[in-house]
Symmetry: C2
Subunit: 237 residues, 2 copies
């Protein structure tokens, strides 16, 4: 039986053996929500990069640049990591180069995995369906906030663990904890997130609409998967 | 108002500013439970050390040696980290040098804190009372298992967060998560731990009695505190 494990922070990735497994990278507020939204609205591919410099170089190669640091759009870039901005802009057929505080780093750290998917509440059901079909051991990699644990990514990991149910085996304490936390908070995710450090940190940036958008479940039935250096929609299995 | 934060793994210690704060190191199964038990039964002082070599050198200086790796007593040492062994042996007035897989390392990593205490379910109420009296900001440092998150240390952290209640402020997601997990599992800690990775890993070592002992709350009203290189019982405040 395939196994499911949860990695609660990028710092803990070395505790996991990713070889031959599927990694699902999670940065609910807001990188992976933005990736899912962008691809669902016709973006051809999203290239996650670590640095602002790489992002700038890719603009010269025809990519649309998107850069976020500390919750804000980096000066000079048309986009940050707001999924609503990706939803409203007409980026159909375009390629986007994206760098964010936490999410793109977590993708990079997961390179040893056999394949890398991107998950968020917006595509929860799609992720669960895909993993069940694939029937391969999985590590859910929470991007956290600046290397530390965060609540929103853990809750999403818990939702996936709950969704995979008895088809996957786990002796992972973090998976157990995440699913217990999701069971506790699933009826009102926004109330839980209002208590979180992320909400306090970013409330002053006026991104409450973004947060509410990101906490919606199953808006898009699409799974972004890394293909070479880019995220593209996975083909239906 | 003083703050309370929870550090879920030794790897995450760099995410916290320990300056001027009290650190409570937690390794419920079994290092900090053994430390509390030993001091409660008259051990004069416990010296936590990182390596087996340091532990051996201290034996030559008159310490009783205690060494655990991967849940087992290290060959040639009279004790490992079993609290029941410390309870049953007559070590009154003796000094113990102790090295364990996770707990002693977490103590070392917390050196930047103003003071370092050691907590376990066995002295839960004593820790909570002490922290309330002290009224200083606190970071609860979970020793985890080989750098990764574990359930039992997080549950104890949650018990302390719950105990400190409204006298301490927190915007720490890990504190929020830990207290929610404790609320979920406090009525049957043993059932929760039976699902944990630690239980599966160590069940074959026949330490179930030790685990049950460690999950008892408020057996000893004693707070071990680091004084120089040694843990001693804190003076009543």
């Amino acid at each position: 039986m395939p196994t499911i494990e949860v990695c609660l922070s990028p710092k803990l990735v070395p505790c996991f053996n990713l070889n031959g497994k599927t990694a699902v990278v999670i940065d609910v507020l807001r990188a992976t929500s933005a990736m899912v939204t962008g691809l669902a609205h016709g973006v051809q591919a999203i290239r996650p990069v670590s640095t602002i410099e790489e992002c700038q170089l890719l603009i010269e190669q025809g990519y649309i640049g998107a850069a976020e640091r500390n919750g804000q759009v980096v000066d000079g870039f048309p986009f940050g990591n707001s999924p609503l901005a990706f939803q409203q802009a007409d980026l159909a057929g375009k390629k986007v180069a994206l760098t964010t505080t936490n999410g793109t780093k977590a993708i990079e750290l997961s390179h040893a995995a056999e394949s890398i998917l991107v998950g968020a509440f917006l595509n929860l059901e799609a992720i669960v369906d895909y993993l069940k079909q694939e029937n391969q051991s999985v590590v859910l990699v929470c991007a956290g906030w600046k290397d530390n644990f965060n609540l929103e990514d853990t809750l999403f990991a818990g939702a996936v663990v709950a969704g995979l149910g008895k088809d996957f085996e786990t002796h992972c304490d973090a998976a157990l904890a995440a699913s217990a936390l999701y069971a506790r908070f699933e009826d009102d995710l926004f109330a839980a997130i209002q208590q979180s450090s992320h909400f306090h940190r970013l409330a002053k940036l006026g991104i409450e609409d973004d947060i509410k958008f990101c906490l919606q479940r199953n808006v898009y039935h699409l799974v972004p998967v890394m293909q070479g250096p880019e995220l593209v929609p996975a083909m239906p299995q």
